[in-house]
Symmetry: C2
Subunit: 229 residues, 2 copies
DNA sequence: TTGGGCCATATCGTATACAATCTGAGCCTA
DNA sequence: TAGGCTCAGATTGTATACGATATGGCCCAA
């Protein structure tokens, strides 16, 4: 928790955003406890506001709140992880198709700048920021498709994906989606709906393949936790 | 607001459920104001708890909270309404397919009982309850498909659909989904994945057709509201 | 009469006080 | 020494007090 920025007073929304970024950047690990007054001290607000932020993050699936226990950064199970990517596979190809039919020159330029920003972050070795931008790329596609509901939804799924990547990413392979993203941008430029849809399908499959979502238990668990119940 | 039941103390979750049911049953109309201490009086809890419930409903898209103005039952716009059904069309056929492959005899029996309960409600002329059950039928399919994430998601979309139906339903046609639901149950019994998927696709299209989602303005609006801004 | 400004009241927003609950250390006992 | 009990401290849960903001009525002036 001590790695959070902005020690000045903030709104619940701002706190939620900052916590989300910290989770995205893996500065807050899955399972980390978020004590209310600790967070409140950092942001200089009362627990009331912190509570709002934490509940909001719970609704988005980033935080788990246990009654009388507290709030923790969510630890998606294997099943939840698979479900997130299944849901994305149902939604995103259709968004890519719609975006291809609607994308303007500005949209294409925006996505290109977005990819450049991601590359810059990688060059600076800011892996967390690059991951965040990479996820946001997908949300931007829903925005271009002008589908507000799914844009919101996808924002939540992408945020959860960041947690999943933190837990299940096979470190041995590089998480590179540059080629797919480039392909999508090109398809948008050409208004190639079929192409965009296919690339997105393949891209999500690629992502899945780079995760270790086989039956292995959910990773290192403390003995104490493992023996509980 | 005076039509709500259970005047004894309750948790935020219970309040949210009761409000949801009231919205489903159209006892609370889109746009209705939900004053915090009024709700608190009804349920015999402090505003703290009411606030939790209202925020939770906001996240689910059933309530709109305007800062310093208060909470209102959401009034989905035409675009939002279309988006809800588009999202459902992306998700539910796949759920129907998965459910067909997984449904047990118990699941089929459960759905049959569910349909019977809906019919009973209709016979008792409890239209609101029948609508609620009809929506829940779809959520149950996601449960049978064993897809928890989408089950939750669909619960929200179905709840919003109830609002949309309240606003955009063409009264002239009967909102009958009995045939489609029956077809789905049969497909589940036969493990007919393709059939289930197709029926669900068509069923959602049917639903859309029975709504008036053309460009007409969002219905009766007070003059004052219309001239604002 | 009509338009604008002012104030009382209603209502929401936030902080804080207090109650309920959990946790873990220390102690006792078998 | 292992197991369980008790209690203090830490932490979350809820109610309430108080401040901020919006609303609507009233008065006054043009």
């Amino acid at each position: 928790m001590s790695v959070i920025l902005k020690p000045k007073t903030a709104t619940a929304e701002e706190i939620a955003v900052q916590l989300t970024e910290a989770i995205h950047a893996h500065r807050l690990q899955p399972g980390a406890k978020l004590r209310e007054d600790e967070v409140g001290d950092v942001f200089q607000v009362s627990r009331t506001i912190v509570r709002q932020a934490l509940h909001s993050l719970q609704h988005k699936g980033l935080v788990t709140i246990l009654r009388n226990k507290g709030a923790f950064v969510a630890k998606p199970t294997l099943k939840e992880a698979r479900e997130v990517f299944e849901a994305r596979s149902l939604i995103e190809p259709a968004m890519a198709r719609a975006a291809a039919l609607r994308a303007t020159a500005q949209d294409v330029a925006f996505l290109e700048a977005h990819m450049q920003a991601e590359q810059d972050a990688l060059d600076r070795e800011e892996v967390g920021e690059a991951l965040r931008l990479s996820g946001d790329f997908h949300v931007q596609i829903a925005r271009i498709a002008d589908h507000t509901l799914i844009e919101t939804l996808l924002g939540q799924l992408v945020a959860r994906s960041a947690l999943i990547i933190a837990l299940y990413w096979r470190r041995r392979s590089a998480l590179s989606d540059k080629a797919s993203h480039m392909g999508l941008v090109n398809a948008f430029r050409d208004a190639d709906a079929d192409g965009a849809e296919e690339i997105m399908k393949g891209h999500l499959l690629d992502l899945l393949m780079q995760l270790d979502l086989r039956d292995s238990p959910s990773g290192p668990v403390s003995l104490k936790e493992a023996l509980k119940k």
